[in-house]
Every structure is written in structure tokens, then in C-alpha cells.
Amino acid sequence: MGISLLINYSGETAKNLSWQTMLAGAVVLAALVVVDKVIKNKNYHMAIFLAVAGLVLIVTAILLAIIIVNMSNILDSGVVL
């Protein structure tokens, strides 16, 4: 649904989707760091690291997809403020 919204409305929707995705990613990342600090158990390090890596790769892939779909809009309006 997000991608079809982007194709139809581009600019503003891309902005909203990207900051919401990043915010969600940052919250989950912070939660994982807190979990690691609370557990303090080396046995869970691999699980937590894999969760962090998965989260970072998923959020990066979503942000990259938004940019690719929104590329024509970015090139039309320029990238610099």
C-alpha cells in the first residue's frame, strides 16, 4: 500500500513514510539496546545482534525503496535545501 501511495502522490507521502519508518526503526533499535543492557547475558548476544542487523537492513531497504520510487521527484526538485 505504501508503494502504491508513493507512485500516486510521491513527494509528501514519501516524506511522511520515510520519517515514520526511521522513527519506528529508531524506537525498536533503542528497545533492543535497552534489552541488552537489562539482560546482561552473553548467551543472548548473538540473538540481539541478529535482531539489530535484521532491523537495520529492513529499515535501510524500505528507505532505499522509497527513494527509488520517489527518484523522479527528487531529481525534479533537487536534493539541496
Binding site: 516524506k15 520515510s18 535501510t60 528507505l63 527513494i67 539541496v80
Partner: protein, 229 residues
Amino acid sequence: MSGYYFLIFLAVAGLIASFDPLILSIFLSLAFGLRGQDLSNNKQRLVIWAYIATYSLAIAAISALIVSALNAAPLRLTVVLAIITAVAANLWGLVHIYNYFWYRSFGKTPKVLHYHLHKRTNRINSIEDIGTLAAITIGASIYNMLIIISSFSVLMFLISSRVLYWPLALGLVFSLPLFLINSQLARGIHLSTFVKWKENSKQIFELNLGLLSIFLGWLIFLSLNGVFR
């Protein structure tokens, strides 16, 4: 994003990035190496201040060079370079987080620099030696420097490319921990205190660098999508 907010962001994020265990190690080695030489206290201080200034200016120059190159590049190339930098920053963040969990030598000093580093920290006779040591310091943390400084520079370009003093501000923020440590050393605090502090905190520094690197990568994506307009 207004210049005021960006300055606050640059100060906080730059300060987190500046606590790189490698850079701190080299700086403490330099301070240790100088004590073993037959130099007066004033000359020792002068050498360290010159080293910090050179290091700071070198970072500012690298950042200014990247921002200028992005300004001169065609739009399509700029977007591609920004995307590559963002993806590299995210992957680099994961390397730091790996180092946080299992302190390993991923992305550490290239071996060829170890020899020169050791040689230079024990023999500082001229301004040229200080310049070389500052260059080796940046080289020793080359992966970190390239990815973190590139990410900051891309953000500077995307958010506020016309302000040319951002690279200078970045250089100053990056040298702030060295400045503070040197001030404390001058006040008589023993070098071993800082060595112990650095050893105890290096995993936290790795975590901070990892999270910061991931955050910088995501911010570049957001800037490209026009979130800060």
C-alpha cells in the same frame, strides 16, 4: 532544518563520533612517547597543541573537500553518492555493534600503519613529524574517518551546503576530547587514569559509534526524501 538546529546536531553527533577508541589510543601513546623524550614541559605542551590543531584542520579539510566535490558533481551523481554513503554508514554501524558485543579487530588500524605510528610517537623533532603523525592518526582510523566524515559531509551538503564553516565546526568538535584530555594532563592528572578509562569504556564507545553511524545513514535517506525542507 535551520542552521541553529543543525549546529546542535553537529555538536552532539560529532562529539559522540570523536570518542573513537583508536584515536584516543594514538593520542595517549603520543602523550606517553613525549614524556620519554628530553623535552621541556612547555615544548611538550606546544607539540601536543600543534598536533591537535593539525588533526582538527585535517578533518575540516577532508570534510570541505567532500562538500565541494558534491557541490561540483551533477545531480544524479550526487544522489547516487549520497545513497552509497548512507548504505555504507549503516553497514559500518553494524560492524561497530559487532565490535561492541565481541571486541574484535574488524575495521581496525591497517597493519602497515602500526610500524610508522610507533616510530613517530617516540620521535618528534619537527613540525613535519607532527603533521605526519596527524595524518597517520586519521589513516589509523581510516575506515571510520572515511565513512563517518563522509556521512557528516553529505548531510552538510544536503541540509545546508552554502554554509562553509560546518567542516571547520566538525574539525573542532572531533578534536574536543583530545583538547579536554590534554587540559586534564596539564593539570596533573596521571596518564594511566585516561588509559584505564579508555580501556574500560571502549565497548561503550563502539556501541555509540555504531548507533550514530546507523542514525547518520538513515538521516541521509530522510534528507534525500526532502524531510528537512
